[in-house]
């Protein structure tokens, strides 16, 4: 596929981290928008981008790389995946779910130590001594499946059990933390439930605790239902747990159950929340924010139609994503370049477009923190503040300075790549715009950039001049307002 279809370029930008020639080459000429959507949502599960870590020609990582047990290395691995994965939408969805089920490493490490904290957040089962699956791996794997199943996995996820104190939720003293956030943040949202629902939901999850088999550092942390610690009494809610469609008779009460089968309480509540129409609408708005616009409110039509797809497809996320990408609102060229890139998106895209040869993912981590997005450490369980909120003075300065850091690192490669465009200052501007996949240059920007190229002396196109001006211009443009929009 060539660069000729603006709508397809828009689709690839919003579902990946910058659009490279390799991304375009994946699709033969004439591939339709719908075919590409189908390909994107049915990403190739077999591909293993991690196998490329440490091989020449890819983004570098720290020496002694131990991403299962060292959170800094885990952050590098995720960034590596964003830069190199042939299925970038999977990483984008993992990032979205990480934001949605925002869990912070520090609390877990504070209680279980750095090694087990990293394992609970990010271990890959296939390379962990006891097959521990870190939270992010669970989210990546379930990113396109049923939201109901994702909720169950989240409720039983070791990191989440620590993060929202499920580990100590027992009938003698119910713990409200997870119960509240499950309703307020993970499903239907504030305004849909009463304080009494929080107390009832806390009791529902009593006994949903954490167990470890084996030693600290290598043993397996896993969800464990402890019947003796479960509150077996009935729990009453202000909304229906059982609905006519699925259960014949509507009821807002989870019945008293014996301890052995009490785990069903939690599954029933999750089922009710997953299928609640307000959950469907809230997720539709989330996806609008992530894929369409963070500054424009979702239209009612979009919300209702996506919510309908969600409910009609048994909460299947893949079906919902396809509907989002096929929607009129998403596939709208007038919305191109109007979505603010999150820091992780900005960094991954800049690495792909400016260059990564000889650059270590480790060197992007402090800048990411300064931009306001430390992976595995969201500010709180509500995730990050999005959209305009990224562009504080400090956050914007961090982006500008990362652009400088990267352009400095890639100085020689940029000079070499710019040689065919050495003919004029205008040609250098063309080179930079193409390299960075920017929208067409405005006259104002063109003049400013040519002024920059010519400052200090006339244009010669010499290697010496390119060595200064190519990275200089890439810095200015990767740090520009235009580059923050996808």
């Amino acid at each position: 596929m060539d660069k000729s279809s603006p709508l397809i370029e828009h689709l690839l930008r919003r579902t990946g981290f910058g659009v490279s020639e390799a991304d375009r080459a994946r699709f033969p000429a004439g591939t339709s928008y719908r075919q590409i959507v189908d390909w994107l949502v049915a990403y190739p599960e077999s591909s293993d981008v991690d196998a490329k870590i440490g091989t020449p020609g890819y983004l570098l990582t720290s020496s002694g790389f131990a991403p299962n047990t060292n959170i800094t290395h885990a952050r590098q691995r995720w960034l590596f995946r964003m830069v190199h994965s042939p299925a970038p939408l999977q990483e984008r969805m993992a990032l979205l779910w990480h934001h949605h089920f925002a869990t912070g490493y520090n609390k877990i490490a504070g209680m279980y130590g750095a090694v087990d904290g990293a394992r609970m957040m990010a271990a890959r089962a296939s390379t962990d001594p006891s097959g521990q699956t870190g939270q992010i791996e669970m989210l990546r794997r379930g990113a396109f499946g049923s939201f109901r199943d994702l909720l169950v996995n989240v409720a039983q996820d070791p990191a989440m059990l620590v993060w929202l104190d499920g580990i100590s939720n027992v009938k003698a003293k119910p713990q409200e933390n997870f119960a509240r956030e499950l309703m307020e943040l993970f499903t239907f949202g504030v305004g849909q439930f009463a304080e009494s629902d929080v107390y009832a939901a806390a009791r529902v999850f009593t006994g949903w605790n954490l167990a470890r088999s084996g030693a600290s550092g290598t043993g397996l942390y896993r969800f464990q239902y402890n019947p003796t610690l479960h509150d077996t009494d009935a729990k009453d809610f202000t909304f229906n747990i059982y609905t006519p469609v699925r259960h014949g008779k509507p009821s807002a009460r989870i019945p008293a159950r014996n301890a052995a089968s009490g785990m069903q309480d939690g599954l029933d509540l999750i089922q009710a929340l997953a299928y609640h129409p307000e959950t469907a609408r809230r997720l539709a708005r989330r996806l609008w924010t992530w894929f369409v616009s963070e500054t424009e409110p979702a239209s009612d039509g979009f919300v209702e139609s996506i919510a309908r797809v969600y409910l009609d497809n048994q909460t299947n996320i893949r079906a919902v994503l396809r509907a989002v990408f096929m929607s009129r609102e998403f596939a709208d060229e007038s919305r191109a370049y109007q979505r603010y890139a999150w820091p992780a998106e900005f960094v991954a895209r800049a690495l792909r477009e400016v260059g990564y040869q000889g650059f270590s993912a480790n060197d992007a981590l402090t800048p990411l923190t300064n931009m306001g997005q430390q992976l595995f450490e969201p500010p709180d369980v509500a995730g990050w503040d999005l959209g305009l909120a990224w562009f504080t003075t400090g956050g914007m300065l961090a982006r500008l300075n990362f652009a400088s850091q990267l352009a400095t690192n890639q100085r020689v490669a940029l000079r070499d790549a710019a040689r065919p465009f050495a003919g004029s200052a205008n040609a250098l501007v063309d080179f930079c715009y193409d390299r960075l996949s920017l929208p067409p240059v405005t006259i104002d920007n063109q003049m400013s950039l040519v002024d920059y190229a010519l400052s200090g002396g006339p244009w010669t196109g010499s290697d010496a001049q390119l060595l200064i001006k190519a990275p200089g211009m890439v810095h200015m443009l990767a740090g520009s307002a235009e580059y923050q929009l996808v």
Partner: protein
Amino acid sequence: MRFTRRDFIAGGVKAFTIGFAAPAFLSDLAVATGATSRSLVVLYLSGGNDALSTVIPYTDSFYYSRRPTIAVPAGSVLQIGADSSGKALGLHPRLTGLQSIFNDGRLAIIQRTGYQNSSRSHFQGTDIWSTGNPANSTGAGWLGRYLDALQPPVDPLVGWSTLRDLPHAMLADHTAVAAIPSVSGYTIQSPNSGTEGTYSRAGVAALASHVPPDRPHVSFVNGALQNVLVTLDRVATVGTYVPTIAYAGDGLSQGLRAVAGAIVRGIGTKVFWVQIGGFDTHAGQGTNPANGAYSSLMGTLNSALTTFYNDLRNQGLLDSTLVLQFSEFGRRIGENGSQGTDHGAAAVMMAMGGGVNGGLYGTAASLNPAGNGGGTLENSGNDVAYQTDFRSVYAQVIDNWLGANSVSILGGSYRSPVLNFV
């Protein structure tokens, strides 16, 4: 997603155009007003501070019976006398410096602040405390509305968040507020040095000067870039500040160090924001052990505030500085099964500074759940009920400290005849 609530095009574009009116003139303006102006430092204890572990009702037997493992023993609290109802109170044992400031009459403690039907949600609670509007907690914050009411042109450093992001309370409709988490990191790098580096910075400024009205998304970011460019030099002067006392390395202390530097350098900032997290103590609250979680928080809070207080006193600037502390809610009275406390209702606020009339304001709750503690409790006796509307505290700060009109900024009169802490 706080930002998305405001009218982006109307608010966003206006914010930067006013913010970037005339840098040289604005700097003069800041210097002219800065030296004599008062500043407000808002301190947010994020996560819902357990007020009953900060200001301890150590003679209330229910405090001990309902908190069997996390109550602070009466023998170790720092006594600060009794409130107007005669209830004896003590500060957490780590708040030694604050006890001294209290004894100097420069610390006001306002007990049981809050509002009707207190939200137990961090996010809604924070939004309500940020906007001062429990009915609709979206839109500009109370500090943002104060900044919006200032006579333009307004300097881009008039509000300064020491966080990476902008707290909702400082969100304004028309006024740009700076977020400067690190003064020393507030410089523009360039791939080239010397003259070429200067050209780079000029180029960055040239690109950022384009604010096409038909492309508000681009214009907004350029507004942020412009605010960086026009504030670099003045922020750099803050970086050269040498405090009279060494600040600790934690985030709150370093934030307050920057605030002190900005005050001493006469930057002209009227509202600063500092923050410390970790107060969502559902489990292992650690109120008593030397290195327990809550104990450490109190230790950090104490050292940061005491250092700041003494530094400003040494600089002779204590009288023009007011620190106002809040948190989004207090916590449940009874401890939970994990030696922690869940989300509760009424909170404690504090005000500190040279202009403060120190002392205990409001009365403590009776923690006897029977009969809702004589009306001082709610939620079946599980939570402390509010007594002083938090907006009355804001009103006093707005009227008596900032010299603005609280009725218009808060959208109603919350002035209280019994509060006179400043």
